[in-house]
Symmetry: D2
Subunit: 263 residues, 4 copies
């Protein structure tokens, strides 16, 4: 099928964003709660996928949860505790940029926890998630896949593009040597935590644009019919000539002289 | 100068984003704290300006603070209390999509608080902000201006474009009838809270792209020299053929068939 | 056996408090987590029991969790969410003055939630609590019983003693008419949520002093051996005459002249 | 005047607790906010003073704030930030067991912060507190004094009484060698932060019972008249014989056999 161009992507994405927008209104008006977990290979495209949602939706409805490393106190709490406080209330969407599955991924592979902690975690997860699903939360779990060839290309881009260099975390250099170990950790995690009530969905992100379309289409297809009658927003004529800004205390600063700079 | 095209904007923006990226690294490495308040006319372009930052920066460093209406308990607290908990720690950036200035803007104009509360607020702000600036926080306060003609165009776009309709809040219809009252509230607010330690900056957002460039250029110019020596990220060859994804428990779902749908 | 006098109570309590103190040190030093839920009949003696713990233990280790009515946002979250954030970290004790069981008690009897919500809650609790117990948390659930005759005496005391009148909540007057309904709600709750991993313990609080001794003895008996070797706190002589307070900027206010006032 | 006996203390305290209780009702019903800071010499009696309040008042109205050492992230925030979130809402009382003044006390004396940080803190405090007082918060700041002779007695008691040994913190042993340094730090702090809007009150706690009476009397005297008309709580006869507990699922555990144990 080849790679999608930006233009092809934009064209394909547009109708999906309209459906997403409808779904968000349905969530709001019917009081649903939606949680989407974005997990996956480093560089696969979690951030870009989350931006696809966050740039379309109301930030007061849709919250991105990207937790830092746990504090000392958090490390001594129930493992799920610091995630629970970010769960959506009715009408809300929480997008998790990584999640409790850190314990079965980076923490397990990098040795940030004991293997006993990993086993306990994998055993606890299905019941934990069933609690949420039984409570009526829509829980979607996506794992974004990509081959190491793509990963290396994207690491190289981050290395060379100052705008993306912050995406290179200290563990990345080591992580790329552990591609296989991550695969094994993922397989173990899938075997233990892919459940009827909270299934995993793997999405191929070797082409990130295609990956985003695939993920979004899948998510929309798995929600019930979210079409609501069109909103009727009463809106009248202004009734007078539009008013211009007027300034007393101070005036706007001069606009950026973009022509000059780009001569 | 006319309106910037998307392409002209992208070209002009690129070098500024590199400077922003440098500034973010400087904030991180030298432990600075940056707070940017985005206030202004409805539809002026707060959200788009915030996206300009947030799409470039590390979400673990740069947090968008878009608070909902205060809860019953919050309404009974010190007015600044619920904002304080979102202040940046060293190395962090907080972008406030509206801020404590709600009290002098929408709350004052719409009558959500008493005029005595507005007066107390305006009196308290300069000292409150001096505390923060004295503590070493970089505090930038932007007010985004636009004429009502532009505002009406943008309201119409929100009304007609389902992707943006969530931006039409219930108070917007009333707010547009109060364009002048908002101007007066702004002038009063500027007179009371434009201080040497925490000055206001007005930016003309009649052309939103130009407005964003102007705001970003201004912010960068007011930071000290943020250029740090280039990072030296050690990066070695992979040392073996790149590995392909392999799947045991489950395989990725089929990719979205975008060609078919767009036939 | 008759009622315990204050003196008999103090004598009997003393050795138990020493054991409690040992247990707290064991919790601290071995990184245990202890949660105690205090539920029961209105006026039974939850507050006094909690004070017995809190007055003995380090407030930085032992936290009393007495949550107010849920906020609008909390009412729209996962029911357990607002409790989870108060779970103990390693080394800590959380004493819950009422708990998630509100849903099966006051909320059910008073009609603050639907009967479907009660049923869902009762179904969810055993799994929820198993998560915590499997994670290694010590979870104790006490329900404090008393006959209505005692309850009426205590309500009368609250009514007539200004120091206790705040304990009369607005629902108390109605609640006393619903003694039987509370019994039935308790029985249903016990049937659904008394589990091998998180059993309920009923304690007779018709004599509150005896009730407190009984509860504390039971809790201590169910912890493992908490005796640790005596702490060796190095402590040397002061090495000089003790110093007296001296005052420059200001002096203490005059002490309360208690003799005069009580003439 | 000599030391108060327990009985004399109880007799003198009783009417003060009634006034405190009235004041709490006044705070609740008129929507006041009260903050009391308890600072002072180690062992002076902060904890006991706080218990005097907390044992009398509704824990849902009166919160004890005893913060642990700051987390890594908190150390990188605005110094006041972690305290602000515990400020009282209308109708509430916050009792601070130590407070932001740590920076001028233990942190300064023990070298947990730089002398520049102490200076900045002392300079910032009066404005910070003025913000709160201007906002209508009642702010009381008590510093509890005692001579080293008393302090040594109390340290010895903590060392020898297992029930109080948790009160011996690791820094205590060093702190007693620094009695004079603490005095100097206090004097500097008083000079910088005793302000007309938020004055300090020193209370002599060489006799702790007398100290508590003195502190409470002072606080009550500085509140406005808090007497409200008596509450009229409607209360009817029960209308039937009181009901006895009856048990289906399980029965209360046997009561503690205190006689036997104390033979």
């Amino acid at each position: 099928m080849g790679h999608l161009s930006q233009k092809e992507y934009d064209t394909a994405l547009e109708p999906l964003l309209h459906e997403l927008s409808d779904a968000a209104r349905w969530i709001q008006e019917t009081g649903q709660r939606l949680m989407v977990l974005f997990e996956g290979r480093d560089t696969a495209g979690k951030g870009g996928s989350i931006h696809m949602f966050a740039n379309t939706l109301n930030p007061r409805q849709c919250r991105v949860v990207a937790l830092p490393s746990p504090s000392e106190r958090e490390r001594n709490q129930w493992y799920f505790q610091r995630y629970v406080e970010h769960f959506p209330a009715k009408g809300e969407i929480s997008l998790f940029d990584r999640s409790w599955y850190n314990r079965a991924g980076v923490e397990a592979v990098m040795g940030f926890c004991t293997s006993e902690q990993v086993s306990s975690f994998l055993k606890a997860v299905p019941d934990f998630e069933r609690q949420l699903v039984d409570d009526g939360i829509y829980l979607f779990k996506y794992w974004l896949c990509c081959d190491q060839e793509k990963q290396e290309e994207r690491f190289a881009d981050r290395l060379n593009n100052p705008l993306r260099r912050w995406k290179l975390s200290p563990v990345d250099h080591k992580a790329r040597q552990l591609y296989d170990a991550y695969t094994e950790a993922r397989e173990r995690m899938l075997a233990a935590t892919d459940s009827p009530h909270a299934p995993w969905t793997l999405v191929d992100y070797n082409d990130q644009r295609l990956g985003r379309l695939t993920l979004l289409r899948d998510l929309l297809d798995r929600l019930p019919d979210t079409k609501l009658p069109e909103e009727n927003i009463p809106w009248s004529k202004l009734g007078h000539d539009p008013i211009k800004e007027r300034y007393g205390v101070m005036t706007p600063i001069p606009s950026y002289r973009w022509n000059d700079r780009n001569d």
